[in-house]
């Protein structure tokens, strides 16, 4: 089934994909330029009828790598769309602007890793306390637990 999916992606996403690899018999890695991520995800979601599993972010040396996990169930294939958002801007187009299912996971990546999703309609805090200091990102590699202490919290913003 993988071959069929890869052939389709190669035809329909010509010029938008950097490279593609078959890593397991039910999993494909697709590497995409961050500027073209909107086109690729929109094609996979609306035209190719993939379902969103989740998205994940991870800090690498050059930037933050975001992986969008999309599943095509009738073909029994998981497509991992990888994109590298480079330092220091950390800006990428919001997929949640068009597809509401992506909004919560983008909010989470915004507060835990500091990626800015341009065009996201509702970028409030999702997981962290409202009083958590701005500009600190707990899932970054250089974050230490001692970076945020009780004094850093702004309890005026805690919503009470």
């Amino acid at each position: 089934m993988n071959k069929e999916v890869m052939k389709n992606l190669k035809e329909n996403l010509k010029g938008k994909i950097i490279d593609m690899a078959e890593v397991r018999d039910n999993r494909i890695y697709v590497r995409v330029d961050p500027k073209k991520i909107l086109d690729v995800i929109e094609y996979l979601f609306f035209k190719y009828k993939c379902k969103l599993c989740t998205a994940s972010g991870m800090e690498m040396r050059e930037g933050i790598e975001i992986i969008y996990h999309l599943a095509r169930e009738d073909k029994n294939t998981l497509i991992n769309v990888k994109t590298l958002v480079p330092f220091p801007d950390l800006e990428i187009d919001s997929v949640g602007k068009k597809i509401p299912a992506f909004r919560w996971i983008e909010r989470e990546m915004n507060e835990m890793l500091g990626v800015t999703f341009v065009g996201h309609p509702d970028m409030r805090r999702l997981i962290l306390a409202d009083s958590f200091p701005k500009g600190k990102y707990p899932l970054r590699k250089n974050f230490k637990h001692s970076d945020v202490t009780d004094e850093d919290y702004d309890y005026e913003r805690s919503g009470l």
Partner: protein
């Protein structure tokens, strides 16, 4: 101390508050109300509002979101009141101690508001129901 002795002489009413607990302590508190342990025979009763309570039963390592809420509940409880730090997390924040979102165990937060607060510690993960009954009784002895 006279007023303390007088105020804790009769049935102790307890308000149960969960500040970022994993729910295991909360379940253990409910077990106290079952026929096997039945704390109401001692007059210990869970109440729905901190304004009716003599003791606050606080479960969980206090995180930043829960801290203002815990202090608000403590301010609403009539003084003198007994604070029971329940479980390993309540006593010392447990395994979450060095996490970025944890601002301290129960006693640290309460003592910021009131340095003379009466605090009883019940360690255990979760504590046995007998331990909690003993803690309340010992707390009354201390008072």
């Amino acid at each position: 101390m006279d007023i303390l002795k007088k105020s804790f002489k009769k049935s102790i009413w307890v308000f149960h508050l969960s500040t970022a607990a994993c729910n295991n302590c909360d379940i253990e508190v409910l077990e106290l109300l079952t026929p096997k342990y039945d704390v109401e025979r001692f007059g210990i009763k869970l109440v729905g509002s901190p304004r009716h309570a003599d003791a606050l039963l606080v479960c969980g390592s206090v995180n930043a979101h829960a801290k203002p809420r815990l202090l608000e509940v403590y301010r609403q409880t009539p003084k003198p009141c007994l604070v029971v730090a329940f479980g390993s997390c309540g006593c010392s924040s447990g395994i979450f101690r060095d996490s970025y979102s944890i601002v301290g165990p129960v006693d640290k937060v309460i003592k910021e508001e009131d340095p003379n607060a009466l605090i009883v510690y019940v360690p255990g993960c979760p504590p046995k129901p007998e331990a909690m009954i003993e803690a309340i009784v010992m707390g009354l002895g201390v008072v």
